[in-house]
C-alpha cells in the first residue's frame, strides 16, 4: 500500500515580469547606476560613465549607492528609476 506524503516546496508561481521598452539610442539620455557600494565598484562605475559619455553621448549619469548591499535597492532609489532612460546595476563582489 503506497504511503502518501506532502510536497514541502512552495508550489506558488512567481509573478511574470515585463521588460521595459528598449532604447533607439543612448545619445542625450539619462542613465542611472545602482551600485552595491562594494570594494571596487566606485572605480568600475567611473569607467562605465566615462565610456558612456565619450562613446555613446550619454548626457547625464545618476549614481546611486544602496544603503545595504545585501538587500534590494532602497525604495527611494527604486522610485527614481522611471525618471531615467536606462539603469545599470549588478550582482557580485
Amino acid at each position: 500500500m503506497p504511503i502518501h506524503v506532502l510536497d514541502p516546496s512552495n508550489e506558488t508561481s512567481p509573478p511574470i515580469g515585463e521588460l521595459a521598452p528598449r532604447l533607439n539610442s543612448l545619445a542625450g539620455k539619462t542613465v542611472g547606476f545602482i551600485s552595491n557600494g562594494k570594494e571596487g565598484s566606485k572605480g568600475f562605475f567611473r569607467h562605465v560613465e566615462r565610456i558612456l559619455r565619450e562613446d555613446y553621448g550619454v548626457a547625464n549619469i545618476e549614481m546611486r549607492v544602496k544603503s545595504n548591499f545585501s538587500a534590494p535597492a532602497d525604495p527611494h532609489i527604486a522610485a527614481e528609476i522611471p525618471q531615467w532612460d536606462a539603469v545599470i546595476t549588478g550582482l557580485g563582489d
Binding site: 532604447l23 533607439n24 568600475f44 562605475f45 569607467h47 565610456i51 545599470i88 549588478g90 557580485g92 563582489d93
Partner: protein, 59 residues
C-alpha cells in the same frame, strides 16, 4: 554580474518571472581588481550594453 554570481542571477531571473533576462558577465572579483582590471570590466559591460539596452533597430 561577476562570473561567480551568474547562477544566482539566472535563478533570480527565473524566480522573478523573467527567465530570459539578459545580463553582462564580467570577471570576478571586482573587490581586488586594479584600475586596469576595472576598466576592462567596464568595457565588457559596455560591449554587452548594445545588445541588452538598445533595440534591434538601433543595432
Amino acid at each position: 554580474m561577476t562570473k561567480n554570481f551568474v547562477s544566482a542571477a539566472e535563478l533570480m531571473s527565473r524566480v522573478l518571472g523573467m527567465p530570459d533576462y539578459k545580463f553582462a558577465i564580467i570577471d570576478h572579483p571586482v573587490s581586488s581588481a586594479n584600475d586596469e582590471g576595472l576598466q576592462k570590466r567596464a568595457q565588457t559591460v559596455i560591449d554587452a550594453l548594445t545588445d541588452i539596452i538598445l533595440s534591434d533597430e538601433a543595432n
